[in-house]
Subunit: 242 residues, 2 copies
Amino acid sequence: MTIAYDGTGFYGYQIQPSARSVQEELEKALSRLHKGTVVRVSGSGRTDAKVHARGQVIHFDTPLSIPEERWPKALNSILPEDIRVLAAEEVPDSFHARFNACGKEYRYLIDLSPVQDVFSRNYAYHYPYPLDLEKMEAAAVHLIGTHDFTAFCSAKTEIEDRIRTISSISFSREGHLLTMSIRGNGFLYNMVRIIMGTLLDAGTGSTLPEELPRMLHSRDRTRTGKTAPGHGLYLHRVFYDN
Amino acid sequence: MTIAYDGTGFYGYQIQPSARSVQEELEKALSRLHKGTVVRVSGSGRTDAKVHARGQVIHFDTPLSIPEERWPKALNSILPEDIRVLAAEEVPDSFHARFNACGKEYRYLIDLSPVQDVFSRNYAYHYPYPLDLEKMEAAAVHLIGTHDFTAFCSAKTEIEDRIRTISSISFSREGHLLTMSIRGNGFLYNMVRIIMGTLLDAGTGSTLPEELPRMLHSRDRTRTGKTAPGHGLYLHRVFYDN
């Protein structure tokens, strides 16, 4: 299933003991649909508190014989308003939303208005400072390709292999809204938000585009920019082979 | 002052005894800025529960000598996040936000997505039915001009004079978002929402564009469409002479 959620009311995608999560709401709704039987949901990956999704992908096993086109309506009638099932598809037993994902696209939204847009306050990072978009693009170029992104992930990252491939980073501006789109084969913990924070530094001039290669090579989180806030981030799409 | 607010958390613009209102939040913030002295605020008009504003205009009297360009920052640092002061201007004592207004523009947003867009659920009316935009425009033309809008305002309207002039109604569509913009010299209670509801009926074909003149002449609220929900409506701009 492809799902969208407004991250504002969630402590993240993943189930946790005493905080509202997307996974818990999905499993509650599925359990109702399965007359009380517990249904475990696997997502393509976690998203943090306040982070949104327009195209998160999840899978689960079900004995129900609901036709695939009826699933969205069936679940949406039970789910809270801040989660919507956009599409459902029957997949082979071998399919796994996380292990079969071969790439992801994230977007990061920035509200450049001098006064914060009230309607974007939970949906874009308010950053009312002059930005040189060309410098942000010049800095971003250095991140394209296959690199060790240790300097661009949370110091708390437990995974050992920090080599990832970024295939594209692009910016588009419409009015006061700046959007960064980033695609890659996988992203480490906080990686998109740290890239965004670092590229904002390039935009204000506090970091030079030429410093990016050195940041990468340093493998040192203290050399890169701030972690941009979660509420500007969207899991936009998950890619699968075939 | 020109202010914007997200209507989601308000029972409307106007102060009421036990419900959160925009006016109350403004007066609380101004009272803090005036060291406890009560400051009464006058708006260009009320907006209902859930209705938003991008360009509400308010005025008040103040003995403070804060330069006009500093007012937005001073108030925004006190106001809750869902109200923002966008601009401030010193006006003659004779100015009145309501009595001097010579026109208003409202916008109404409709989410046409088959599955409701989670990010628009409080900001657009979800209407996932096929709409014939040309028919909506053909119906709207009959409302342009000076008419008695009794059939297009709430039956509870107390004001006697229901003659208003609508100068334009236009539609624009971007992706799944349809926007109606409507300008006029003044609007009666629920008038924009009833116009929207009636034009949606024209869009689905349940009302014919040619029926609009008869609806106007009937002066009968039961002949017109449903009142479209408040959360799709925006007070976009208030016009003043010079």
